[in-house]
Symmetry: C2
Subunit: 523 residues, 2 copies
């Protein structure tokens, strides 16, 4: 976790390992990427002059800290998608917001919204800045400010009897865990962005963590929340559960700043586990692996973390995780046990490991245990993906992820169709996928794509192809990355014209001047 991520990269640059030595040969052989393709990021250009009027600035300064320096603006110019990084690496700062506003409390957030409505200034809530879907793109009205919530970073209340904790939105993932630890509690919401992302961002994007199979999605954890909107403040969530009309909390969760700003959220928390076990398995075939996951989940004996790589992801992981003699040996072992269709399965139990693992055993017949080493390898590298991406982009590789979810019946077809669409669009490429986030009725599919980088259009086209394939297959346009700007074109397919009309009606009620994150959610 760092205060500010680099403009053109992820996290703490000192944690980058560089690509393993055998990666260069693999990239050359597989994608035709040679050392000549390496490309270093350009330094950022100075951002455009701020469009914020003197009056607006005075109004904002009266209620919150305001930064207008280049650095503050540049660092909130966008999120961390491949296209964001491509732009940033070109030194392009044209998307920088006109100022950065840092409110200290809920009242200040309300006052900022009032000032911005008065001056026709768009407001983009900014937590960790980890959006990979254009969710923090500053889209201006007369101007646009980034509303950075980092000063609102307190744990407000812990109810140890009811196992709930009330947070301000700017609390980062690791800080939430640190704040809860003295109570013997944890949140356990661990998306790959965990080290940078915030509680407010988790809620606003309706995110799911790597342990969602056991701990549930953020949707499932929200007990109560406060949403400050230009039209007033919504305080939602009474009692344990309610039947008092439609659950309005569900309108705030996933609202992506388009309806207002999450300023307080009460989440379900858990007692810290006394033990954990992460274990790798091999399964022969992606179908067989899915059947294992389905049996675990539908049988009520799923572990907290469950993740099944398809044969391509499995092969790449084996190749890149160990070069040399040891790597060759591992690959030979895998081939012998599970053939070319070998799929790596990672299962993780937190608490009551032995009893739960025993219950899971029947579903795991046919899966060959690789032991805890493979599990620990995944565990230790679980937040490293974005660092690896920086290294790959330096090497001249297009690298991006996308995700969806589908019913168990549809999972295979969606997998096939999305792979085909990406391959058709990109030509020579590697498409890897894993199943994770298990539900009784289905699961998510998470794709990682590698190709030789050409230009932005290359990925824009591939993303359209993949998204069209997802929607055509009846799957959802996003399982946990949210809508942002990037998925807006598919929201009509997702909820229909009438669903969009409902979302617009809600937005008009809560944000009549349209100042709230205008670039996101609604086409």
């Amino acid at each position: 976790m760092v205060d500010d991520m680099p403009f053109a990269g992820w996290g703490d640059p000192s944690r980058r390992h560089g690509l393993p030595p055998h990666a260069a040969a693999w990239l050359s052989k597989t994608l035709g990427v040679t050392p000549a393709d390496a490309v270093a990021p350009a330094p950022p250009e100075p951002p455009p002059a701020s469009r914020l009027s003197a009056d607006a600035l005075v109004s904002l300064r009266a209620v919150a800290e305001v930064r207008t320096d280049d650095e503050a603006r540049i660092l909130r110019a966008g999120g961390k998608s491949y296209l964001d990084l491509l732009r940033a690496r070109a030194g392009d700062t044209s998307h920088a917001p006109d100022a950065v506003v840092l409110p200290a409390d809920e009242a200040a957030v309300a006052a900022v919204l009032a000032a911005c409505a008065e001056h026709r200034v768009a407001v983009v809530p900014f937590g960790g800045g980890t959006s990979v879907v254009g969710g923090v793109d500053p889209v201006a009205l007369d101007a646009v400010v980034s509303l950075d919530l980092r000063r609102m970073d307190a744990l407000l209340h812990v109810d140890e009897t009811s196992l709930t904790a009330t947070f301000q939105p700017g609390v980062r993932g690791p800080d939430a865990e640190t704040l809860l630890r003295p109570y013997g509690l944890h949140l356990g919401h661990l998306p790959q962005s965990f080290e940078q992302a915030t509680i407010g961002g988790f809620v606003a994007t309706r995110s799911a963590g790597q342990a969602s199979t056991g701990h549930g999605r953020i949707d499932d954890m929200v007990v109560a929340l406060t949403l400050v909107t230009p039209a007033g403040t919504l305080r939602l969530g009474r009692g344990a559960k309610s039947a008092a009309g439609p659950d309005l909390r569900a309108l705030a969760v996933g609202s992506e700043g388009a309806f207002g700003v999450v300023t307080e959220v009460t989440l379900r928390v858990r007692r810290l586990p006394s033990e954990s076990r992460y274990e790798g398995f091999l399964v022969r075939g992606f179908d067989a692996g899915q059947a294992v996951l389905r049996d675990l989940e539908q049988g009520g004996v799923a572990p907290d973390v469950a993740r099944l790589s398809d044969p391509d992801e499995t092969a790449v992981q084996l190749t890149l995780s160990g070069g040399g003699a040891k790597g060759a040996l591992t690959k030979a072992y895998v081939r012998a046990r599970a053939g070319r269709e070998a799929c790596l399965l990672i299962l993780g139990w937190e608490d009551r490991v032995a009893a739960r693992r025993a219950l899971a055993k029947p579903a795991l017949k046919g899966a060959v245990s690789l032991g805890q080493g493979a599990g620990r390898t995944w565990l230790h590298g679980r937040y490293d993906g974005p660092y690896l991406r920086d290294d790959l982009m330096d090497a001249g590789v297009l690298v991006e992820t996308l995700e969806t979810s589908a019913s168990w019946s549809d999972l295979d077809r969606v997998h096939t169709d999305v792979r085909a669409a990406l391959t058709r669009s990109l030509g020579r490429c590697v498409v890897m996928c894993h199943v994770s986030h298990l539900y009784p009725q289905g699961a998510s599919l998470y794709f990682t794509v590698l190709a030789k980088a050409v230009d932005a259009r290359q990925w824009e086209r591939a993303k359209v192809a993949a998204s069209d394939a997802i929607v055509a297959a009846g799957a959802t346009i996003t399982h946990h990355h949210a809508v942002g700007a990037d998925h807006r074109p598919w929201m009509q397919a997702e909820v229909g014209d009438l669903g969009l009309a409902v979302l617009r009606a809600i937005k008009e009620t809560l944000d009549p001047d349209g100042i709230c994150n205008p670039g996101t959610l609604l086409p």
Copy 2:
């Protein structure tokens, strides 16, 4: 399950047992209700003349079966709350809808809504007619029709891999189970109204069943649904789970007919259990019992059904369940084991009983098992409450229930405050309560109230007192009975003025002419 319940009573009258012989003495001693207070229902008066215009009738007949006979209209004049029954028992049919419309399919529902919008006719969706909160009260514009969904009673699709089933809304609880049984599946959504209520009603009222601790609420079961509204049709739910903006399904679930008509719903289903065990326990003290439930739920080892009666409910159950020597013996045993603070705890496991019961054991230390007899007694009587109510009303007893939910921390205070409010309002009365529907963060409280019946005002006042106490204690106005007409006055407290504005904006978008169940949900 019967086709039509009696106008002034519940279910199948042949299933009424009458009060046990020792009940009369208890009612006299406890409430001062004597045989002289017995009151037989009056026959229904003829309903008022239908206000439906000839034009409207022609339009409706063109698209659906329409009944205008007295019997059809009278039987849809309201739900089954104490006040509904009091009115019905007085022969009052003044609330009868002007006609009953029975659409055969989704297209017919849309056509009925269009015809009603054109003719300013209100539409009240009617499933089992079991609302206890005025949710099916026919409130007229120029006229009002009851939209009875019984002809839409098909199981449309079963996905045995993804464990989902797609139902039309008019399928009754027991029929849903009968339709699923050949697939080895069940739904397991078992509210007390189960034998009469429908899938559409479950969804529209956001209900919770007696096994919700294990199986979840209906909110948790809805994978996809179709809501036909005057503005068009919403088809919601793609993929297994989604982050594509706010979950619009949550607007349809609990919309109580105010936004449109649920015409299709895909629900999560389960494999039929191979075994089950219901068991009674005694706990000394309501606090101690709550601690047991909390440990079970927060420890992840809760059974599927969990229900803890407070000392008053326990005492009444023991008194009314067995008179004579056996009853006296049971009471003596209970007193000896748990004193006057004895609380009856019913736990029910469906599937993997031994393993799960073993895991639950540590949380149950301090609870004395009464064996499976007590569990079976509860199981066999689980749908009998409404029949008993008819018998009690015949005897001249006020009998009604109300419910809420609260965090574990607040549960005791809510219990105390609601009891006090009811007792203050009613004077001589019996207030019983049980905790059920466990969640990690809290549980529901379900109150049953008995007093000597005086008039409708007597309960109206008591309901206001109890509801004010619930809201003042921070609990929800309803955990699973929905809002209907009866809880409307507390919706402002529940979601605030801005929450109401959002609900109104949604309604105006989906139902611009305000024809959809105008009596419900919104103040």
